[in-house]
Symmetry: C2
Subunit: 219 residues, 2 copies
């Protein structure tokens, strides 16, 4: 207490390396990304990766940890209140639908952020070939949100929240939003869009809201 370390030179180096690592690991993959290109992009000496992170794998883990925190930071302000209200047993069927819509809106918003381009590349890679880094992401963020959405859907559809059906419906809801990130090149071409701006994102959210309402309520 008292002394604020502000930001030492070493801290700045660490941060710059992590930022560059997210970008370059995402673009090239773990093995193809060279420590020299990451150090260059960070404006930092290559030998400092060894000093600060022990080596290339340590830097990768630090980069993925940062992504996990960033995704959490974007979703939690929306989902934590819902989670608490649900735990208190205050969520009826009507509110359940509304909260599923709120959650999918937040997921679409998060994964269409410009920053999410770099995150998503790394996360998609891990999905196809999970390493230790993925475990942390799933345990801290993905699993938690899937559990909540499944619970809401189970309440609305009067299903067992442990049932395969409730879980599968969750996945299909989230899949409707994630396709705009995971199949991005296809989406842009088919829609004739150059990028996902605020107008485009609003259109996406509106269509998904209508789909999900119909899926859950038949209306």
């Amino acid at each position: 207490m008292g002394i604020r370390p502000s930001s030492t030179r070493g801290d700045q180096t660490r941060e710059a390396l992590i930022d560059a690592a997210i970008e370059i690991f995402g673009r090239d993959g773990f093995r193809a990304a060279s420590t020299r290109s990451i150090a260059d992009a960070a404006g930092v000496n290559q030998a400092l990766i060894g000093y600060h992170f022990g080596g290339k794998p340590g830097l990768y883990l630090a980069a993925f940890e940062r992504i996990t925190g960033a995704v959490e930071q974007h979703l939690l302000p929306v989902t934590q209140p819902i989670e608490e209200e649900f735990r208190r047993g205050e969520v009826d069927r009507e509110r359940g639908v509304a909260y599923v819509l709120t959650m999918i809106d937040a997921i679409v918003a998060t994964f269409t952020l410009p920053e999410s381009e770099a995150w998503a590349r790394l996360i998609l890679r891990e999905q196809q070939n999970p390493s230790d880094a993925f475990d942390r992401l799933y345990d801290r963020v993905l699993g938690r949100h899937l559990t909540l959405m499944t619970a809401l859907i189970a309440r609305v559809r009067r299903l067992d929240p442990q049932s395969i059906e409730a879980r599968l419906i969750s996945q299909t809801v989230i899949g409707q939003g994630l396709v705009f990130r995971s199949a991005r090149a296809t989406v842009l071409r088919h829609l004739g869009w150059r990028e996902l701006g605020t107008g485009e994102i609003a259109s996406i959210q509106s269509v998904i809201r209508r789909n999900v309402t119909a899926m859950l309520t038949g209306r």
Copy 2:
């Protein structure tokens, strides 16, 4: 005509290299995949990549071309008859729904095939960072099927087939199926599954069918 070249030694080498390339480019990415590891996996000398494909980029293009053909071969037997019936103006609203369901079933089936694991890794990579190879896949396969599904959905929902809304609905339908490939690690963990077998795939198709029917008809 007359002479059947059967399969020369060179042809076998080409085929073995392409098979190995799909696997290893998919696993490691273009840059990280070494021509030596591909040649080893193919049981072939490393120098033959230069001889048959001109070099590493040529082999990558050949591998992606093969994937394009494979996806086409799985989808076209289902979708071509629908395409023709639609062109003859014989598809009413009820049939339109049935054909959207048939198409999404085929898409799920194709992208849960064991072989599709290797294809999908490459296709997902191209989605985040499209190269020339992606253009061919989109023009030959993806665009064609998106156009057909959008036309069917437009008919059912009485929308302009050129409208953004009809196209967005197509994407959300397909997204429900693709999430089981693109977010595979997350899906398996959340569902408590070890892999997608025939039973699991049937459950997925059943849930998506119900979702899509509700989305398109309100029933």
